[in-house]
């Protein structure tokens, strides 16, 4: 890389990193403390009995239990194993990284001066609608066609470790018990460790994503001109940015800072980037395999690409064209 290129890369890289890092920290602190302090059955008890209503509520649960997409998969695996309906789990898994206050705040901040309110509301609404749609479809499919066989067996056996503990304690009440027999402050340390673990996992992908973005932003990356040439195409641009989101594997708490710098692209394409990325990317493919069948992941990826792409193109014409 030439000296000028190094200078430009460094300037863009540091500016995006400085902007996004505090938001990742905020998100991972919350997810770390939720991970340790939230009883496993808390979510299940909040959901209505009606299946459709439960899916809709699950799509809003991220507002109460905000987690990013990296943190949500292990949580979902645990909750599904404990009997949370698969449709609700899928809905929560797809919606929570978007429909949560941290993502809303970071999107709002990142798009200041660029119709921040419209973009934030559009992102939350589209994320919610798509997640609920997936949940409703999943609710009509047999569990075996979605979940990994091992997880299905676990659910069917109903012999999870927590149930065993519950009986041991006499089933005296309707909540999960704390079993902290360790030294004082042990859970606080565990929460901070969990937060640090989440931060490092997210920051690694964020760092890679910022580096790639900085290369494109300053025109150093090969193909930057080609990417720019597609930006003006209202039909191809959302697809291109969804592909970019898939490759970059950014965290939903910080991806808005990347999207906001893609200034040659229209808002609709950025909306596709911000909605598709938290639901499907390279790292999620690996994480989803701990819960979902490969065929289900492939189907989900194609469905999300087509639906989000289509709605984003329509959204660009309907909403963003009228935005101030």
């Amino acid at each position: 890389m030439a000296a000028d290129g190094r200078q430009d890369f460094a300037f863009a890289f540091l500016s995006i990193l400085f902007e996004g890092a505090p938001f990742i920290l905020l998100g991972t602190l919350i997810s770390g403390f939720l991970d340790v302090y939230l009883p496993p059955g808390a979510m299940d008890r909040l959901l209505p009995k009606n299946r459709t209503l439960a899916v809709i509520v699950a799509g809003l649960m991220g507002a109460v239990f905000p987690v990013c997409e990296c943190a949500v998969v292990p949580v979902i695996r645990r909750l599904v194993g404990k009997g949370l309906p698969v449709a609700c789990a899928l809905t929560y898994m797809l919606a929570a990284p978007i429909v949560n206050p941290i993502t809303a705040l970071s999107t709002w901040k990142a798009f200041q001066g660029q119709s921040a309110a419209t973009m934030t509301c559009s992102r939350l609404l589209l994320g919610f609608l798509v997640a609920v749609l997936v949940g409703l479809i999943a609710s009509r499919l047999p569990m075996r066609s979605i979940l990994r066989p091992r997880l299905v067996e676990e659910i069917e056996r109903g012999s999870r470790h927590a149930d065993h503990h519950h009986h041991e304690h006499g089933g005296c009440c309707d909540h999960d018990h704390s079993h902290d027999h360790g030294p004082s402050g042990s859970r606080l340390i565990a929460a901070f460790r969990s937060a640090m673990k989440d931060f490092v996992d997210v920051a690694v992908y964020f760092s890679i994503g910022v580096a790639i973005t900085a290369l494109f932003n300053t025109g150093i990356a090969p193909g930057a001109a080609w990417l720019d040439s597609l930006a003006a195409n209202q039909y191809l641009a959302p697809g291109v940015l969804m592909l970019l989101a898939f490759i970059l594997s950014l965290c939903s708490t910080s991806d808005a800072f990347i999207a906001a710098t893609l200034d040659r692209f229209a808002w609709g394409a950025k909306l596709a980037f911000l909605t598709f990325g938290p639901m499907m990317d390279v790292k999620l493919i690996f994480l989803y395999q701990t819960v979902l069948k490969r065929r289900a992941i492939l189907g989900l990826a194609v469905f999300l690409f087509v639906v989000i792409g289509g709605i984003s193109i329509y959204w660009q014409k309907l909403v963003f064209a009228a935005a101030p």
Binding site: G113, S186, A260
Partner: protein
Amino acid sequence: MKSAALHRALSATCLLVWSAALLWFHGSGRIIKYLAPDFRLIALLGGLGLLVVGAFNLLTCRRETSCGHSHGEGEDCHSAHDSHDLHPLMALGLMLVPLVLSLAWTKDGYSAAALSRKGLYDSPAPGGSTFLSNAMPVMTREELLGSHRQTDDGYYEFSLMELFFSTGDRELQGIIDGVKVQTEGRIIDEQVRNPNGTRKRLYRLFMTCCAADSRPVPIVLEFGEPPPPLPENGWTKVTGTMRYKLEEGTYQAILVVDQAIAADAPMEESFMRN
């Protein structure tokens, strides 16, 4: 256990290095070149937060913990809450190598090539920039000049932003055309429509959130003769008369220069959204 403690110590080190970078740039004042004002306090809090979380985890990396709830078969507390997607050394490399290289390479600004890509030499849009033009009020000549300070030499002090936006507004051009103005910005070679070599370009960056989204806000300087030697990309105070000329289908804001002298950088180098 030793391995787990080492992994935690490595992760905590990553956090501390990121924290040090944020706090260093904040403490040295360089952060103003990278972030808009709204984000500077957030960056400071982020740096302090990373310091607390990193230091806390480093100091307690040997402590055994219990999260207080049960895990699935084959899972212990460490593997459930504390195990990483990547090996900590790999994570350390991916988090720190780009950061350290960037810290070594940065000059707190863009090169001319990057500025060019960001639109320094683009023809002004007829309607101005979509997200900025609404900020400019419509005024009469008296109102406009009355709202600007006049120097002892009779030049009206205009920001470069106002002069730039006048290129997209014929009404504003009619008001400003022929006015003697004083403005400041960074001076750089004019690479387009400069057959006689008598032109330079004066620009400042407009930043929305961070330097990565910043855009150059330029006007053309016409010296009428070979320009005087001024530091390339250096801050320059320019006085002259504003003119608007139709060139290749678009109106260019051209400041016919009376005097151009090197100047100190202003407190805020970039224009901010607010």
